[in-house]
């Protein structure tokens, strides 16, 4: 029998996280600091709205690009949060999570051979989705001396005549880094000069702890060349509802809707109705969750300081990215030993790109009690390692 598989897909390496997940699942009583989703339940009023719409029998397809009312609310939201004006009629598409938005944006914009610049460490999907779209990923290895922000020089060095798109994932998973207005202004100049496009993954935008999040699409000359991606998973704790959206210039969104319509039809109807409620009345819940995450973030940074573990201060998402370079072992070795000896799971930085070597991703989407427990064990482990040296 012949080989049923496409070479492209076979050649994509499996997720680095998956391997670790399998090891952790085998352990009984492991505490995990390795999640990428909020520990909060979706605020009750949003769940209630979802339940209510199911009771009312709203179980049919919606229009491909999403419920009109939802697109209007999304447009209003971006106006009040980022001061950007998107026409809900043809500049917004509602997708199955930010994940689908990334995928269809790449597929809509990339021709075979086009280069896509991907800063790493970053979310695991950008590289594989680029390959699946027949694009060529060009990796920029971000540096902790720059607090893992993308610099003008790094960007210039990565551009070639084949570069078409830059993926801009900030606030960042796994580093927790953000790009402030001044950082964005610098790279916007380069983007405009080289006539590039940006796919800005802003799914963690509400979880910004230093001033307000700034979207690159806000800057002059950028809206017409940016696909702004956001969603409900992280801000409203709606990960399982699978709902996100993309906004951008009409010509691009139109083609994205085309792919979406053939591959997905429409995002889950129930989630869309719940999302309308979230956007209308959820601002307070978001603010409360953000405050809580921020408290935990400060707690973690303080704990690292006391353990003398090197870590730059992250101002976004719910991750910290401490360095374990002093211990002369790879991230994977550290994480594996830590798991085996202290039964705490953290994700090795290499799961997010080679430039994550020497770092760990620790999530603070956990209660303070859990964090304290895990940090106590980390302290023990780190002390032991230092004594061994």
């Amino acid at each position: 029998m012949r080989n049923p598989l496409s070479n492209t897909i076979v050649n994509i390496p499996p997720s680095g996280i998956r391997k670790f997940f399998d090891i952790v699942s085998e352990m009984k009583d492991a505490i995990s600091l390795g999640v990428g989703e909020p520990d909060f339940d979706t605020p009750w009023h949003i769940r209630e709205e979802g339940i209510y719409t199911l009771e009312k029998g709203k179980t049919f397809y919606t229009s491909n690009a999403g419920l009109k009312e939802l697109k209007i609310e999304i447009s209003k939201y971006l106006e009040r949060r980022c001061n950007i004006n998107y026409d809900s009629n043809d500049e917004v598409v509602v997708t199955v999570g930010g994940s689908e938005a990334i995928d269809i944006a790449l597929r809509a914009m990339i021709d075979p051979g086009d280069e896509v610049i991907i800063p790493q460490p970053s979310y695991v999907s950008y590289q594989p989705c680029t390959v699946l779209a027949n694009g060529v990923p060009v990796i920029i290895e971000l540096q902790d001396k720059n607090e893992f922000r993308l610099t003008k020089e790094e960007l210039i060095n990565a551009i070639t005549p084949k570069t078409k798109v830059l993926v801009l994932p900030f606030p960042n998973n796994p580093t927790g880094a953000i790009m402030e207005r001044s950082d964005l202004e610098e790279i916007a100049e380069v983007i405009i000069d080289n006539d590039l496009f940006v796919i800005s993954d802003e799914i963690y935008s509400e979880l910004t702890y230093k001033g307000d999040h700034v979207s690159i699409a806000e800057l002059p000359g950028m809206k017409e060349r940016t696909i702004l991606i956001n969603g409900f998973s992280k801000s409203y704790a709606m990960t399982g509802w699978r709902l996100g959206y993309a906004c951008g210039p009409k010509e691009i969104i139109e083609q994205m809707v085309k792919i979406h319509q053939f591959a997905i039809m429409c995002a889950p109807t129930n989630s869309q109705y719940a999302a309308i409620e979230a956007l209308k009345n959820g601002d307070d819940d978001v603010a409360e969750m953000r405050e809580t995450y921020n408290g935990r973030r400060r707690y973690l940074m303080n704990a690292f300081k006391e353990m003398r573990l090197e870590c730059f201060e992250p101002y976004g998402a719910f991750y910290v990215f401490p360095s374990i370079k002093e211990f002369n072992m790879t991230s994977e070795e550290f994480a594996t030993r830590f798991l085996q000896e202290e039964k705490v799971a953290v994700v090795p930085g290499t799961a997010f790109g080679d430039s994550g070597e020497g770092f760990l991703r620790i999530s603070y989407a956990y209660s303070l009690e859990n964090l304290k427990l895990a940090l106590g064990r980390l302290d023990k482990f780190v002390t032991r390692l230092r004594e061994e040296k």
Binding site: F20, Y123, Y299
Partner: protein, 160 residues
């Protein structure tokens, strides 16, 4: 800063003050001083513990009693409220709007205990016109806490 502290300790009164100052991102001495001031000013009136007595062997019954009174000349409801709240078995006294004047919450060892208190001590008060007693059968949520919350973390252990 006061609001931040209050919002946090309302649900977490047992937190270590150093930890509180780290979490709020403020100076520890400032937190200690603010707390002391707020206690003095009676903004913080107490640090209590929420207990589900049903899960223990201790017998406790709680009743909500609506009381109608004739307000005293020159003193309104305050002195009657005081006469009622001085009893240690009375846990709360509120002046409320609506059909009744005072809402009294009472704890006793049994239905009988409570009924006796109402008939012997409460109804007999001079300004009390009438009472209506309601017994609490089940507490679902009290002081902002769901009593039977299951705290199981159902998320996948590791996710990207």
């Amino acid at each position: 800063m006061r609001e931040k502290i209050l919002t946090f300790i309302e649900k977490n009164s047992r937190i270590d003050l150093k930890e509180l100052s780290v979490i709020l991102g403020v100076d520890e001495i400032a937190v200690v001083n603010e707390l002391a001031d707020m206690e003095k000013e009676n903004i913080i009136c107490g640090y209590h513990t929420l207990i589900d007595w049903d899960k223990t062997t201790v017998e406790k019954v709680t009743a909500l009693i609506e009381v109608r009174v004739t307000p005293q000349r020159g003193q309104g409801f305050d002195s009657i409220a005081e006469r009622i709240y001085n009893y240690s078995e009375v846990t709360s006294v509120y002046l409320i709007s609506g059909g009744f004047d005072l809402l009294v919450i009472l704890e006793g060892k049994s239905l009988r205990d409570i009924s006796q208190f109402v008939s012997d001590k409460l109804s007999t008060l001079e300004s009390v016109l009438s009472t209506a007693t309601h017994f609490i059968l089940k507490k679902y949520k009290d002081h902002g806490t769901i009593m039977d919350k299951k705290n199981k973390d159902e998320r996948m252990l590791v996710s990207p």
